[in-house]
Assembly symmetry: D3
Homo-oligomer: 234 residues x 6
């Protein structure tokens, strides 16, 4: 497939105009490799590992959720330089869908909601709220990773979920108004925890966002490259 045809396809899946303003120039084709695509890989992050894997599998395109170049560069060095070098040397393109894929139909949050079997869905400004029939052990099992739970959610009849860093006070209030008994997201800060109107369930970026990328890879027939952070609880 030609790269321009691929880009058109991606812009239907995750329309760039759905992205938050801070994603400007940080989504889309952010590293240009070969222009004729034979095989496509998908991962949550563009790392040394995922780019190498993609190249080793003979892929010339790696679709990711998080750009490897968040802070704008005037020097190509260090860990980020190493990822860029690896991509350019092997001709692997890197294509980023970030907040546009969070908000997209069938995107990160929809996949998460489906994984947890939520029904009777309301959309929030980021993420969704839905009826839930799982308990915390079952949620942990479905997400395939441990949870840290703040407060006592008791029976969760209605759950808010937001892939990424969704523990924002205004979002917590929004969830509360939509009837949520608990809020599932990642990267909880201490001062937010103190002010939350409802119990909070903290997972990780990987466990909440990789399902969306994996589901996409499945639908499209792409290779999915797992790179689950090695997390242990003590």
């Amino acid at each position: 497939m030609d790269i321009s045809e691929f880009i058109s396809l991606m812009e239907e899946i995750a329309p760039p105009e759905l992205a938050e303003e801070f994603d400007e120039k940080r989504i889309g084709l952010i590293i240009e490799g070969k222009s004729d695509l034979q095989k496509i890989a998908c991962a949550l992050d563009a790392t040394d590992y995922s780019v190498s894997e993609a190249a080793d599998m003979g892929c010339d395109m790696l679709v990711v959720h998080h750009t490897p170049i968040w802070d704008a560069l005037t020097r190509i060095n260090g860990k980020t330089g190493s990822i860029i070098k690896r991509a350019l040397n092997s001709g692997v393109n890197i294509y980023v869908m970030h907040t546009n894929f969070d908000h997209a139909k069938g995107g990160i949050n929809d996949a998460l909601s489906e994984l947890l079997g939520l029904t009777n869905i309301d959309n929030m400004s980021l993420g969704v709220v839905g009826d839930c029939c799982l308990d915390l052990n079952e949620i942990s099992e479905r997400l395939n990773g441990s949870l840290r739970v703040y407060g006592n959610p008791g029976d969760i009849n209605r759950l808010a979920v937001a892939g990424g860093s969704g523990f924002d006070l205004s979002l917590l209030n929004e969830a509360c108004e939509l009837g949520a008994d608990a809020f599932l997201s990642s990267e909880l800060k201490h001062n937010i925890m103190l002010k939350s109107p409802i119990p909070l369930i903290e997972s990780t970026h990987y466990d909440l966002e990789s399902p969306g990328m994996k589901a996409l890879a499945g639908r499209m027939g792409w290779e999915f490259i797992e790179e689950k952070p090695d997390i242990c609880i003590y």
Copy 2:
């Protein structure tokens, strides 16, 4: 004790000039209650609970690490308004030591270092690095809370610790140069995890910072009010 005498004492313990610039007007006597002090309490946070407890114990001063008024107010309402109201109605003063107590001798990081038995200490721009003879289970036990560990620290011979949100890339590099095998702090973000030069041990604000406040209360003969967040792992 007169309030002004108390303030002088506190400014010796945690000199205001050690505070970071962002703490300007957010440390010191931030709620003025009674001016003659009979009894003093200490807690990590000024919350509805800790202010009520202080009042119930007959304390007229509550010393905390985190100000309840971080975002400047033009309205007295909601959760923050409720804390202010409770303090003013019971005449409880609130005194904040934040980054000045992080950096102070005998402050947050020194107490943490002592709790973990670190030796051969080097100061970082925030926190310390020291030789460590505990394993992860022992660290978890001493901190009295669970840890999330990223990467595989193996034997930890030298540990960096920073109470608060210390997972900053430049700080991680500083620790690495001082020989640290792992870095212990709280509020780890996904993109920092991907770029860290060493394994990371994530605890909570409470578990890392309350020891410093408790130690201070012990030394001074103040009441310490525990308010450990109710965290469960699933």
Copy 3:
């Protein structure tokens, strides 16, 4: 009356959307006291005196024109802290209508215009211009306070009035184009005086704005608390 019912009523009298942008988060219910209202007081300013008076009269709501918390606070102390404490301790709510009440129908400027008997009114971007049949002594008498007059207005056939700090060059020009012979407002600055196209009549905030608050109190059956600054001319 329940507080939420009261707020709805106030938002009809002085719609928040009429407020200038700088009033954001500085109008409405800025101190939350009791939620069930028995008796309401009104004053120009929320001061130690007016809040105490309101409490002494058994009022649980004080409606004012100027917020006591203009500069956003991270500390509750000094004169402003004292007002907040007094309100919270007595359960008195404070509700602010500022530039929304300046612009509102029946608000500050309409009351002032009526007090001075202006007719044939044109609205300015702030304040009004109208035909006037009073001389300076009569204006002073109606406002119940002394005036400082710059330039020689001669016979005033058409007068511009703006409660508050209205001596803005663009407003003076606007008044001039609407046929005003003189401009009545408060807080005149030297450099504005030098550039004004018409004579200027300087009164005080209190004398120009309290009539609007008093008229409102009268219409609504509220207590009005006078607190005229003690001004003498030498």
Copy 4:
């Protein structure tokens, strides 16, 4: 006298480095006229009147306290354009001493202090505090203009004075700490009045600042051009 010789002389009288930062590029020779000076005039403001008077008297230099070009210009029109035109057409130079003359020895505040017979002087960050043996009527007489007095100063044993717009809260507190019973300045704002720790005496820029310019003219043998604003009290 050559213009450069004159400038050297002026920079001794009111050293430019004493000026506040906001006066940058707004003091010194701000309109260049003839370079050989025969006769010098002095006034508080550069206005159509004072520039014309200076020209009519055969002066080629007008020394003033307030620049006529405060807001930077990209167009030469309106009232300011008219002053510039008048100066340029008659060859009259305009030289400005502003906050540098406020702070200078023998400047605005020293002249004011001397006019009021203050003794036992303390310098404030702007203005001075001194022992005073005048009552309000005598102060008004010496200043040759009416006063508006807020609060009740009673016997004034120690008076703070600041020519210009000195009613700044931090300055009022400074005066208070230096033992002042009252504060004399101009351009009082309503919200400052409400928060002042001491009674306030409001005069005008002209009455407080022209004595300093007049004294300078007297010492130097220059013409002084009076242009007292036409103020009446009703």
Copy 5:
């Protein structure tokens, strides 16, 4: 003609709303001279020379493309002060049409396009692209000045032209997409040259912009004052 009538006429020729935002307060009547106009002159720049020439010819209005007061002034001195003085002393008004005349129909770029005989015109966001049947020697001849050419344009079938400083990367790309073989403008920077997608022809502001002013003068029956910079090539 009265000045206000003249201004209306000019605002039809070069509507102020066509100007770029950075021209705010820098176009229109920027120096007010006599209000009754007898004779009008036109030049590219308002300089000591062009203002004197205008005055000597008995003109009371000088229409120019570049304002003499680009950087806002708080002092009237130096070269700019000298131009202002000369204009005010002789009563010559100065009227500026800048980016509004660049974009206007019949303005700078249209005149340039006509001078070079371009056909089949497309408008760019600044300047135009058109079919061209001149070679570089002929272009140089028509512009009456030398050219510096970067890259090898070969046969120029389609030429982009932008009077003023048009060598902007986004404009070069726009021209390229409209089929231009080369881009003619002034003030080329080294780093733009390195990144240009097409060859660049560098002329001067004077040679590219004065034709538009001259054409206007011709149409209106005004005097045109030539002041071609004295440029030699070595």
Copy 6:
């Protein structure tokens, strides 16, 4: 030579602390290639051509004056992406010395001054002024490129030179005060030309700056890669 040894050497030649603030993170090793250096090349710019040439010559380091990544990047694409890719793919390091080499002893301006035989040198804040015994034809010959001259320099006894974009008004005044009869630099703007106190000689970045890089290459025994822009005068 190891890369770190090379960097130490370069920091002696052009100390980073001499660089202007805007060069922060834009100088030094801006693209990391191989860490063991066999052969070094030098050019004015890092372009597709110069990087390829360096690689073809077997060089693994290219020292340049202008960084190819001026605007910070969040995407690796277009012309800049192509240069980065070429460097990374061939392992060529890119090292930038910019304003630090302008100001360094033996740097850009010293080389230029020597090429033109200037004597009796005064340093300016950027560039130098010196006695000159060349006429314009001879200067053009030495620089190996054409000049555009504004104004009539007549006999040039003392010449100011500044490699790069040196036509800054304050620099022109500085040169004038140091006795310069003319100022040689590149990228002259129309409005600067109108205000210059002395005649101006406009060359190009390449002709003024490449001599410094070439001289350095000569001294160090590096390959110098010429890439003179193809400029013709018509």
